[in-house]
């Protein structure tokens, strides 16, 4: 599964992208966040407050209950501030 991080999520995780192989029982965005937060202290810091983390699966906004699989591109970032 390909992960992308933007803005201060990237700063906190310490990388812009990574490829991960979560266990089979990680099937939703919410479960993926819980699992990722346990992978390192940087990940824990980045996902410390899930209420300010937004997610996109294959470049579409996704909520915690959305399904994710090994072939998906999953991005995490803070609320957007463009325009």
């Amino acid at each position: 599964m390909k992960l992308l991080y933007f803005s201060w999520m990237r700063d906190r995780v310490g990388m812009a992208a990574e490829t991960v192989w979560p266990p089979e029982d990680v099937t939703t965005v919410g479960q993926l966040i819980t699992w990722l937060a346990q992978q390192s202290s940087s990940h824990a810091a980045a996902f410390a407050d899930p209420s300010i983390v937004r997610c996109a699966v294959n470049q579409e906004y996704a909520r915690a209950e959305e399904a994710v699989g090994p072939d998906d591109e999953v991005a995490f970032f803070p609320p957007v501030t463009g325009g």
């Binding site: 992308l4 933007f6 803005s7 201060w8 700063d11 996109a56 470049q59 579409e60 906004y61 991005a75 970032f77 803070p78 609320p79 957007v80 501030t81 463009g82 325009g83």
Partner: protein, 159 residues
Amino acid sequence: MIKVQPEDFDVGAELAALRQGRTDVGAVASFIGVVRDVAGPGELSAMTLEHYPGMTERQLAGLEAQALARWPLDRVLIIHRFGRLLPGDQIVLCAATSSHREAAFEACAFLMDWLKTKAPFWKLEEVDGQASWVAAKQDDENAAARWQTPVSKAAKNKT
């Protein structure tokens, strides 16, 4: 039409191109967003706009389609820059053409409200030599939320 680019844009040329070849379109509403040098208590020296290549274009194309479906428009234009920008630099141009001025105005305001809350851009401000990410505004969420209600009857009928 959607453009995501680091380069500046020529507002006059872009708006002229938008109504090129159309003489049945009387209303062109547009909005230009510009980098301000004020950032909280300090003075902003520069700003870097990061974005999510691929998702940005996808979201903006969806936004354009929504506006075209919702109002009686002829064309929609969204240009959003990314990269490092200085105070006074143009960030974004939104425009809508229509034979109804209310539709053009409303669509243009809608595009901006949704850009602010949906388009995957993040601003990194440089103030007094310190770079920090801009926090999202609740005001912007509220502004976008007003478009959840159906389009006003006025906007559908006015010229």
